[in-house]
């Protein structure tokens, strides 16, 4: 039994047992949809990578040692930062942040940052906030010291002294205790209601209440006891003499998810609103804040786009097929396919990411194709007066195999993304391919079942006429291509040549701040804080000597100083480099305060003195020390503060800094450049790589399928041309117009190839049938073949193009550009298919005839 017969048999069986078929499909979909309860949204930068990715492994190691690098910056503007009143307000704000913000690791401000000053023969060590008097203003001497001190200038206070920052860091990893604390804080600050306990806890509570009732006692909630874990902290470490074995295991610590970071930010926003005033004007920025802003935009967009797509598809289907069944059957198929696919994502712990948020509207649009082909042909046959079973059988005979292959080729287009290193792109590849195959399966089962139960269509000449009108629009183009095949193919060559300069101008970009409009608060705040302090994005460089006290030498410290000066003086394209700091800064401060003869920015000249002066730095305790180094003083952390820019600019900057660090610190040290900037810029490089590889893989997979379908190697490969050409034209146009490849447009080629090949398969399959099975002449075969599939391919192109054009309404600028470009590529694909495929048939017939002679 061949493929065509299997598909026809399945369809007929579904039409004979419609209730059982529908029940089975609904049950299966319901089972898959249970996973929706576990579906999460995660758009954080570290979620871009797979767990064992070296970039993520390096970043996690950094986080384990030093904590989180992507900070939340709370900028406060005031005319009297150095007044007692301001410090009181700042302390209150600071303390409320510490007490009520869930998932908080630490907060630094002028109130609690370390401070050291020599007053005569007395060395005073403490917190800077203690220098503020209870009345009046800070002394002019201290004010000048704070404003010019590299430990604070452009890190906690602007050069003009009118903007000060609270730097908040969320926890890098979660633990059971953190979850309990966060829950408690959220209950207290109103982010979560107190009675909002987990389901599991409710069950335990109900069980205890019931037991208390049976025993005739009053229920008392259990008291919190000293846990075994905390008791263990009293146990004396008896193994201190034993050497410690190092492990190279992949770190599986769970970082905070988007929901937890959102709770963190929600609590901060709550406090910002509470403390906001004219002379305490607060602005917010930083990686987590920007992540949340576009996560919110994504939520809003998905809802709007799905609703719009549904509406447009309903209208388009009714106009084209004039049947309520033809409207609701495809919609039901699409809805249960989307719900099942998202449910499977939930089961697989695959969060909705920046990329996969396009999945629901995409599946809606792609899913309608199968239904339009099947219902279009069915109503045409019914309109001609055929019986239900005959019409169904012929519909599946004519379109079944083609739909099977088009689904496979579309899935192949998506599968090409799975080789991408970036997790959101590879996840999207798998899940979209799964969704497409699910739509095909549901269409093969549900459409015959629904038609068998509800179809009341009669002989309908108008439908036949309308359907044939579409054929009349397309057929002349195909006939022209057969007649003037050299002109058409020459035109293709010309377009390719003209496109080369555009392709060469193509650029790459990833800059989420440009996703927002000029009026967006997050954009205004980020850009204004950057203009004042250049402090939004931290790039972290870790220099690891691998030797205990390896960094506590005059030579190493001098190199650190040199590297910092080099980084601070960099004038790199649009990226502004702000303050760079490391352990060398507190050391300079200590030295200048201990040695009255020492000038500022001078470090001790002997190894012994450095180690002795560091003893004073250790007064801040483990918490302070481990911000800048490890306890063995074998590694130094250098934080380079940058302005928010396009990730592609960070790529070159990062390379330049790495090269300089390698030159300065030599081959014996290990240099690691990491942090959010590294994650994002590595992502951009990978976008470039994954695009080339994805296009190549999609071309190979689709080429192979065309060879199998058409049973000709050279012709199968030639038929790739009308599919690749539209993508080439659009990419070239993007180059000419300065539209970059970004996280959305990178998907253009793969999706377009998968969808455009649908038209190719239907068209070549139909013409091929005419020439080989009916032995018709090429001109007749093209005329008949095109006429049979033209209505369906015109309708599907129209529906898809309208569907993708809806993306233009997205608040995310690159997503709307992506929608319009994809719309354009689909129209171009139809034109290319109708012109190039007949021309290729003619060319290959000529070659065949010539070889026969």
């Amino acid at each position: 039994m061949n493929l065509k017969n299997i598909i026809v048999k399945i369809a007929l069986l579904a039409s004979q047992k419609p209730i059982i078929t529908i029940a089975m499909v609904v049950l299966f979909a319901a089972f898959c949809s249970v996973g929706l309860s576990q579906l999460s949204v995660n758009v954080s930068n570290d979620k871009m990578f797979k767990e064992d990715d070296p970039t993520l492994v390096a970043y996690k190691r950094f986080q384990k040692q030093f904590g989180r690098d992507d900070i939340v910056i709370v900028a406060i503007n005031s005319d009297d930062v150095f007044s007692a009143n301001f410090m009181r307000q700042l302390r209150t704000f600071h303390e409320e942040v510490e007490q009520s913000v869930p998932w908080l690791d630490d907060v630094t401000s002028l109130a609690n940052v370390d401070w050291m000053i020599a007053k005569g023969d007395l060395l005073q060590v403490g917190e800077l906030g203690d220098e503020w008097p209870t009345k009046g203003e800070v002394s002019a001497e201290i004010k000048a010291d704070v404003l010019n001190n590299p430990l604070y200038q452009n890190i906690l206070i602007s050069e003009d002294g009118k903007t000060t920052l609270l730097v908040l860091r969320a926890l890098a990893f979660e633990s059971a205790k953190d979850i309990a604390i966060a829950k408690n804080r959220m209950a207290n600050n109103g982010v979560l209601k107190k009675e909002d306990v987990g389901f599991g806890e409710k069950i335990i509570q109900l069980h205890d209440e019931f037991n208390a009732y049976l025993a005739g006692e009053e229920y008392k909630p259990p008291e919190k006891k000293e846990t075994l874990a905390t008791e263990a902290f009293f146990e004396i470490d008896d193994n201190i003499a034993k050497p410690v074995e190092s492990t190279n295991k992949v770190d599986t610590s769970k970082g905070l998810n988007t929901a937890q970071l959102n709770q963190f930010l929600q609590a901060i926003n709550h406090l910002v609103d509470k403390h906001q005033s004219d002379n305490f004007a607060i602005r917010l920025t930083g990686g987590p804040v920007i992540d949340k802003a576009h996560s919110d935009a994504i939520h809003a967009d998905v809802l709007v786009l799905v609703a719009l797509a549904l509406l447009v598809i309903m209208i388009a289907l009714f106009i084209l097929l004039r049947s309520w069944l033809a409207v609701f059957a495809p919609l039901l198929i699409i809805v249960i396919s989307v719900s099942s696919t998202l449910g499977v994502m939930g089961f697989l712990d695959m969060p909705i990411s920046v990329v996969s948020q396009a999945l629901p509207p995409l599946l809606l649009t792609v899913g309608v194709l199968d239904s339009v082909h099947l219902l279009g042909i069915f109503y045409l046959l019914k309109g001609k007066g055929n019986a239900l079973e005959v019409s169904l059988k012929e519909t599946f005979e004519r379109a079944g195999v083609a739909i099977f292959y088009t689904s496979l080729t579309t899935a192949a287009g998506f599968i090409s993304f799975t080789i991408a290193r970036l997790k959101p792109i590879s996840d999207f590849g798998w899940i979209a391919a799964f969704g497409v195959m699910l739509v095909m399966l549901f269409s093969f089962l549900l459409i015959p079942a629904f038609l068998s139960l509800f179809d009341k269509a009669q002989k309908n000449k108008q439908h036949v006429k309308r359907w044939e009108t579409f054929a009349r629009l397309i057929t002349p183009l195909a006939i022209f291509a057969v007649k003037k095949h050299y002109a058409v193919l020459g035109g293709v060559l010309l377009v390719i040549i003209m496109g080369v300069p555009g392709i060469l101008q193509l650029n790459y970009s990833h800059n989420v701040i440009t996703w927002f409009g000029e009026d967006a608060q997050i954009k205004k705040d980020t850009l204004s804080i950057d203009a004042e302090m250049k402090a939004t994005v931290p790039l972290e460089v870790v220099v690891d000597t691998g030797v205990e006290n390896g960094i506590l030498t005059p030579d190493f410290m001098a190199r650190l100083q040199k590297f910092q000066k080099y980084a601070e003086s960099l004038n790199f394209k649009n990226v502004g480099v702000g303050r760079v700091n490391s352990l060398v800064n507190p050391l300079e401060r200590i030295h200048s305060q201990l040695d009255s003869n020492a000038k500022a920015n001078v470090i001790p000249d002997t190894e012994a003195l450095i180690q002795q002066e560091i003893l004073l730095y250790e007064g801040g305790g483990a918490k302070e020390i481990e911000r800048l180094t490890d306890r063995a003083y074998s590694m130094a952390r250098i934080t380079i503060r940058l302005t928010w820019e396009d990730a592609r600019e960070y790529v070159e900057l990062k390379e330049q800094l790495l090269k300089k660090a390698q030159n300065l610190f030599g081959n014996t040290t290990k240099i690691i450049v990491t942090g959010t900037v590294d994650l994002v810029s590595t992502g951009v490089i990978d976008i470039i790589k994954s695009m080339k590889n994805s296009y190549l893989l999609a071309t190979i997979l689709i080429g192979l399928m065309l060879i199998v379908l058409l049973k000709r190697v050279a012709f199968g490969l030639a038929c790739l041309a009308p599919n690749l050409l539209p993508i080439y034209i659009v990419l070239s146009l993007m180059g000419y117009m300065g539209i970059p490849i970004d996280m959305f447009t990178v998907l253009l080629g793969g999706i377009a190839l998968g969808l455009a090949v649908d038209d190719t398969v239907h068209l070549t399959h139909s013409i091929f049938n005419e020439t080989h099975q009916k032995q018709a002449s090429l001109m007749h075969a093209v005329k008949e073949g095109v006429a049979k599939v033209a209505p369906a391919i015109v309708v599907t192109t129209a529906v898809i193009s309208i569907g993708f054009s809806l993306f233009a309404f997205s608040s995310i600028a690159p997503l709307s550009v992506f929608g319009l470009l994809l719309c354009l590529v689909m129209i171009l694909a139809l034109v290319c298919d109708v012109l190039v495929i007949p021309a290729l048939f003619r060319l290959f017939q000529g070659v065949a005839n010539a070889s026969k002679k």
Binding site: D121, D595, L615, G621
Partner: protein, 263 residues
């Protein structure tokens, strides 16, 4: 205010007197604070710093202490690693609460003695998890003591809670609450738990291998573990190598000149 008394890092952070029959927890802790510790003491110990990745760093120190009536003078020299050798701290702990402590640091390579402000006792000593405040004798007058709900622990220790009397005291020592477990028979505090003023930060102290030297109980091994939200951040283990009680010590040792001369 009393000056630093480094002796008690090594011999006993918290000590008790023979009598535990007082009714009031405050009285009980006063008696604890005033117990006899010998006129002088000399202790050599290793300090092992352990980070969250279990990496260890070792230092050794030499501590001398001498009582002058109710006042105390204390000098600590670092003896290992070699680059820190002869770096030292000198502290005077005045019994008069109205007289500020005095403290000096000497960096041998700078060849200079620097006076340190002593108002903040929450700073950490030598990168250990012990603060300057931890190493002083108990500042009984700064805290209100209460016996815990369960006065006796399962090990038989007396359990007391100390609450700072004011916000200034919280800022001065860095603790918002302390719980002590006192061994009545050995007359020493065996365990203590410190709630730091920063939310979620707790320190756990324990002493073991206690021995009696000329009538003074000294812990052979002491540990302080710094935790945040029940996760270990860092710990310090002190290993006592040599203890000498009531050895004659020259007064000139406990001066800034003595600090410069080294040991």
């Amino acid at each position: 205010m009393r000056t630093l008394s480094y002796l008690y890092i090594f011999c006993a952070l918290f000590v008790v007197t023979p009598s535990v029959a007082e009714n009031s927890a405050n009285q009980f802790m006063k008696v604890v604070d005033n117990r006899d510790r010998g006129k002088t003491s000399e202790i050599i110990s290793a300090v092992v710093l352990i980070d969250k990745g279990n990496k260890r760093t070792k230092r050794t120190i030499h501590v001398l202490n001498k009582k002058y009536g109710k006042d105390e003078k204390n000098i600590t020299f670092l003896t290992y690693p070699p680059r820190l050798k002869n770096t030292g701290f000198l502290a005077y702990d005045w019994a008069n609460p109205n007289k500020a402590n005095d403290a000096w640091i000497y960096l041998s390579n700078l060849r200079k003695v620097t006076r340190l402000a002593t108002s903040n006792r929450a700073d950490y000593f030598l990168g250990t998890d012990f603060t300057y405040g931890d190493m002083e004798r108990l500042e009984v007058e700064d805290y209100e003591y209460q016996y815990a709900e369960k006065k006796l622990s399962k090990e038989g220790f007396t359990v007391l809670d100390a609450t700072p009397k004011s916000k200034n005291i919280i800022n001065k020592y860095g603790y918002k609450k302390i719980r002590y477990w006192v061994d009545d028979k050995k007359k020493m505090t065996i365990k203590a738990k410190f709630w730091l003023k920063d939310a979620g930060w707790i320190k756990y102290f324990k002493v073991s291998d206690i021995k009696n030297y000329s009538g003074v109980w000294v812990g052979g091994k002491e540990q302080m573990v710094l935790t945040k939200e029940d996760k270990k951040v860092h710990s310090t283990v002190l290993l006592i190598n040599k203890v000498t009680i009531n050895k004659p010590l020259d007064d000139t040792l406990f001066t800034t000149h003595g600090l410069e001369s080294g040991r």
